[in-house]
């Protein structure tokens, strides 16, 4: 029986994904290093389910970047709905209990494991540890790497789109987790490649083109950092109270302004200078650097674009927004197209949502969400043009438990067709009532 049927999967797996899931299932030590967008998370979950079916796993721990904990939960909901992973967070005593409790799958951030390692390194044993974004342990002597290496587990899988196979130091560090002792000092790049073959699988999009659609769409659910969450909640509570005391005529414009402000905090917390989205974007940029890919990042807000420009982990960055004059915009666009190596183009909706033709880009990141899905489609179409040679990877960020999630829900329900202008001015009458708008905030 096929994997799809035996596991009752909601969608059929692609051939290379079946291969990847089986690769993991059959190995205690493995590094899955597919290019971003090929579905490493799905393959890991399916590999895990196959082992679960054989009753081989009683305790699994999945270590992920803090901003992606909810994203993993969401992937489990889709691909393994009967499993109930628990996120290890909260007070230290709660976390220490969760390690011990008979819970089959735990999801934890790198930061928490680093904090707890002293308490768990001797008395906790796992059947399997999965390391997501494993490039985080590429520095052998960092505290995170040290902590991860001390977790005791029978099997170890690492996932990364940034395998760094050409960097002996980095790959040695990752393998010191995956299979300690496999790579000794002073081995050449060529030797490394040979030694790791049994434990290493990497596919590029170009290699599995026949399995892929022309466009891969991926939604990444992002957890706000604790600081961001704090700023978000304070802003929301204070402003909701204030709105309650306003005259009816002033309310809708104030609610709309609040929604915009909360969306901006989801993008970047100006108080704590913190952004889970930028952190996630940097992970993506690192992966895309492997193939010198070009990335377009869309946001509605120029200020957000400026923050991304400041913090993005990329040498070549270009703006394209309405505050630039025509010549500057033209120059930036051409420089982006002609650049060699990875580059990002930061475009604002109003300046670059329509009319541009940028087939050179292979990745489009929707940094924040539009009210009107058709505007997103138009933005994506900038890169999805004649002349593009590779699969287009469209990534949409969505902050969980925030206005973004509520807007997404409403869009999905198709109850309303939003007018993008709704966020811009109160002079235009929105199609949502005050009560409905308030629901988005609350």
């Amino acid at each position: 029986m096929s994997i799809d049927k035996s596991l009752n999967l909601p969608f059929p797996l692609r051939n290379y994904q079946i291969e990847g899931a089986n690769f993991l299932r059959n190995r205690d030590n493995a590094l899955l290093a597919d290019e971003m967008g090929l579905g490493k998370t799905v393959q890991a979950i399916i590999g895990l389910r196959l082992l679960m079916k054989e009753k081989k796993l009683k305790k699994v721990i999945i270590v992920v970047p803090a901003s992606l904990k909810s994203n993993w939960l969401n992937e489990f909901r889709t691909w393994a709905p009967k499993f109930r992973p628990v996120i290890v967070e909260g007070s230290k005593s709660k976390r220490l209990y969760l390690y011990k409790a008979p819970i089959q799958i735990l999801i934890i951030s790198y930061e928490s494991i680093r904090e707890d390692i002293e308490e768990i390194k001797f008395n906790q044993y796992f059947d399997l540890i999965i390391l997501d974004e494993a490039q985080r342990v590429k520095n052998y002597s960092s505290n995170t790497s040290k902590a991860i290496r001390q977790i005791r587990s029978n099997s170890k899988w690492a996932l990364t789109g940034t395998p760094l196979e050409n960097s002996p130091k980095d790959i040695s560090s990752i393998y010191s987790f995956v299979k300690d002792g496999l790579l000794t000092k002073n081995v050449s790049v060529k030797e490394i490649k040979e030694i790791i073959i049994p434990y290493f699988l990497r596919r590029k999009k170009s290699e599995v083109l026949q399995d892929l659609p022309e466009t891969i769409e991926q939604q990444i659910l992002i957890d706000l950092s604790p600081n961001q969450r704090n700023t978000y909640e304070i802003t929301k509570n204070e402003r909701v109270k204030h709105i309650g005391n306003l005259k009816k005529s002033e309310k809708i414009s104030n609610i709309l302004a609040l929604i915009t402000e909360l969306k901006k905090i989801c993008n970047y917390d100006p108080v704590n200078k913190d952004s889970s989205k930028i952190e996630t974007l940097n992970e993506i940029i690192d992966e895309k650097k492997q193939n010198n890919e070009k990335i377009i990042v869309f946001s509605q807000y120029v200020k957000t674009l400026e923050k991304i420009y400041e913090k993005a982990n990329c040498q070549q960055k270009f703006f394209y927004h309405g505050q630039l004059d025509l010549n500057e915009k033209e120059k930036n666009l051409n420089d982006f197209k002609l650049s060699s190596g990875t580059a990002i183009l930061l475009i604002s909706l109003h300046a670059g949502g329509v009319g541009l033709n940028i087939p050179e880009a292979s990745t489009v990141v929707m940094f924040d969400r539009w009210w009107n899905p058709s505007v997103e489609d138009q933005a994506v179409a900038r890169a999805d043009r004649f002349g593009r040679e590779n699969v287009l990877h469209v990534i949409k960020f969505l902050c969980v438990n925030s206005v973004e999630e509520r807007i997404e829900e409403i869009i999905k329900e198709k109850k309303y067709i939003f007018d993008e202008i709704v966020e811009e001015t109160a002079k235009k009458v929105p199609r949502l009532s005050e009560e409905e708008l308030m629901k988005i905030v609350l």
Partner: protein, 289 residues
């Protein structure tokens, strides 16, 4: 509306708990019901000592058949995680458990878990969480009162509060207006299925410094004419209010209520509230001491 399937009642599931038996600790997992994780280890050493003394006389934990056939565990814990953790720490191999040998629906398992934990902590928040969860599952007020033994008044108020618009509820809390009155206001000011939230909030704010008698009168006034502003309704309410008449009616109602609640809930948190209210009414000479 509550579903009529007999399996939906909590009583059915409670009755499915088998007699206490010893089951292997390694067969018990925490999965679908994801029982509480806060403070599990608080005072655990004390519990361990008690358990060492009590041995197999320990109160049984409750588990259900594990629904996920791929799980390595046979049973899904419903409640008793502190006892389970203590037994694990003591390296016991088995533990006394009441087993429900069927797949228990998630909401039911969580409700059973909440019920058990509510013996330990009976906070309003716990009750609210439990009642809300069951309401979402389609349980009626009557079923919840019957199955859980929570007072009818508490269940009714939670149901009502859940039905309030968020802004109405917030204004109500800020102004110290009861759920009862806010709900009636919201009902009266619902036109063609749409709640006039601004108007309701305006009334609630107006009520902030009024006593309950005036508040109720305002509700009566707008029942007759929903187009009145809060100021207008208050003026009419003031004219309509025969203070002496209200005092007599209120006094009777309260005495009956206090008598009933005393019988039902002696020493309960509700009773303490009644006592406070009674003191206040007496001090304001609304009812005689």
């Amino acid at each position: 509306m509550a579903k009529k399937d007999p399996k939906k009642t909590l009583q059915y599931w409670v009755s499915k708990k088998g007699p206490r038996q010893e089951i292997k600790i390694e067969d018990i997992g925490i999965d679908m019901f994801q029982v509480r994780t806060d403070n599990v280890e608080r005072d655990l050493d004390e519990l361990k000592q008690k358990m060492e003394t009590a041995g197999t006389n320990l109160e049984a934990i409750c588990v259900a058949k594990m629904e996920n056939e791929d799980s390595p565990y046979k049973y899904d814990l419903i409640y008793g995680q502190r006892r389970l953790q203590a037994a694990t720490d003591l390296e016991w191999e088995t533990i006394g458990a009441e087993v429900i040998d069927e797949y228990v629906p998630e909401a039911i398992g969580k409700a059973l878990s909440d019920m058990e934990n509510s013996h330990v902590k009976t906070s309003d928040a716990d009750k609210r969480r439990l009642v809300t969860r069951l309401k979402e599952q389609g349980f009626s007020q009557n079923q919840i009162v019957k199955d859980l033994g929570i007072s009818r008044n508490t269940v009714r108020l939670i149901f009502w509060e859940e039905d309030l618009k968020p802004r109405v509820n917030e204004a109500r809390k800020d102004s110290g207006v009861s759920v009862d009155i806010a709900r009636k206001l919201q009902d009266r000011l619902t036109i063609d299925g749409e709640v006039m939230v601004d108007q309701v909030v305006e009334f609630i704010k107006k009520m902030e410094n009024l006593n309950d008698v005036r508040r109720k009168e305002m509700v009566e006034v707008i029942s007759e004419d929903a187009n009145l502003s809060a100021d207008e309704a208050d003026e009419i309410a003031l004219e309509n209010t025969n203070v002496d008449e209200y005092k007599i009616t209120l006094s009777k109602k309260l005495s009956e209520g206090v008598q009933k609640m005393t019988e039902d809930t002696e020493n309960s948190p509700e009773m303490q509230i009644v006592e406070i209210v009674q003191d206040r009414l007496e001090s304001e000479n609304i009812i005689e001491n």
